[in-house]
Symmetry: C2
Subunit: 217 residues, 2 copies
DNA sequence: CCAGTAATGTGAATATTATCACAGCGACGA
DNA sequence: TCGTCGCTGTGATAATATTCACATTACTGG
């Protein structure tokens, strides 16, 4: 890996914004734009120019003082920050409705992620091929995962024994998990679990719809 | 509406944690637990006891000083905060892979949300019924949405004209949108748009996998 | 009845995050 | 060549979020 650790510390919120910046930068790049000013990019990303400059500066400064930021180079830099300059293999656990729709989701491949293997507990599904990926039984996790060099996983399965499943994944070499199952799980030492709960986000939106006026936009 | 506005101001981060608390409280309730202490609930939710108490206190205090918090009453209170004590109709825009899997997702109904109507731009899909919901053409949005009293929508469609679509939804009475489309859109005045970008979350996880050690857990 | 215990709610302190405001630089035109 | 302009990067400041620590309160047991 050519990129050294971020010099000071890149906050998680900065990292989240980086995804947004990169998305916009790629659109600019497709449109042939070579350089962009902080206030321009900031406006498109709905953040303040100062914040954008600080975000950019937080992992090394690349802005030209009179041309602005070089679009293509920033894309490469952010990709390296994410480690998605090379394709990353990930494992999908659960081939239900949501899981299968994720297999067909093009966004992952476009952004450097490849669902390489599918695991399920349902013996009906084991052995079948979904969108080009063979489905293995969860029981064989420890045998299968190392073959694909899996460091990240996606949980789209049932709620039963979820914590146990996470622990096993960790022991099998998975370092990070994107969890779609609406159940609280604790990340084992050294692992990261990011939780997406669709209903929780709807609840937040519902709250905003009712009380949003009290929060200034 | 029996609940008055939160007395001071409930921060968004508090609201997000409320979803977690409620999930745990419902599990406790199913297990017959009537009261729970802040340190107990906090441990299950992976937050500090002080934070939990502040969160609870932020929209009115209900903790009994020696019994802890009443589980069932807290569930009701949080539900009222979210406005999900009554079922909320929502509209789904896009009946592709992701959209259809959301139609089958049970979590919404369990938490007070009901996808009442489906819109798509593909005339092949219009008129069909997916998981019990009839699919209408996006063009007829303005006619269809008022019939169902829709205040919230879910975007799971293509990227074309997304901003325009959001604007139209706003004019048709939709106040909040959950956007699954990986494209930046700006919320019109008075609306709220919450963005879920699967790849962005994978990017964050990928970053954590590489540099996570520098961020203390 | 009263002291001891353990919980909540909350002012005060701290940590974190975002904004302000400007020094300093490079491009450009006269 | 030099002055002007507008940009970036960043110290200083402000705003926000979290944690600490304790006053206050309800229960319990002797």
């Amino acid at each position: 890996m050519t990129l050294k650790k971020p010099r000071k510390k890149v906050s998680l919120q900065t990292v989240e914004r980086m995804s947004i910046y990169r998305k916009i930068l790629e659109e600019l790049h497709r449109n042939g734009v070579a350089n962009v000013y902080s206030h321009h990019l900031a406006k498109m990303a709905d953040v303040s120019p100062a914040q954008l400059r600080r975000d950019m500066a937080s992992f090394g400064s690349f802005g030209n003082i009179s041309k602005g930021y070089p679009v293509y180079q920033m894309i490469l830099t952010i990709s390296r920050l994410f480690g998605t300059d090379t394709l990353q293999n990930i494992a999908l656990i659960g081939a239900g409705n949501l899981g299968r729709s994720l297999l067909f989701y093009r966004g992952f491949e476009e952004r450097g992620f490849h669902i390489a293997v599918v695991l399920d507990i349902d013996t009906e599904k084991v052995g079948k091929v979904f969108a080009g990926r063979r489905c293995y039984h969860i029981q064989d996790m420890e045998k299968v995962l190392p073959d694909f060099e899996i460091a990240m996983g996606i949980l789209a399965c049932g709620q039963q024994n979820l914590q146990n499943l996470v622990d096993r994944l960790g022991k099998a070499g998975v370092r990070s998990i994107l969890n779609f199952v609406p159940k609280v799980v604790h990340a084992p030492e050294g692992m990261h679990v990011e939780h997406i709960d669709f209903s929780a986000i709807m609840e937040k939106l519902s709250f905003l719809t009712r009380f949003g006026a009290s929060v200034e936009s």
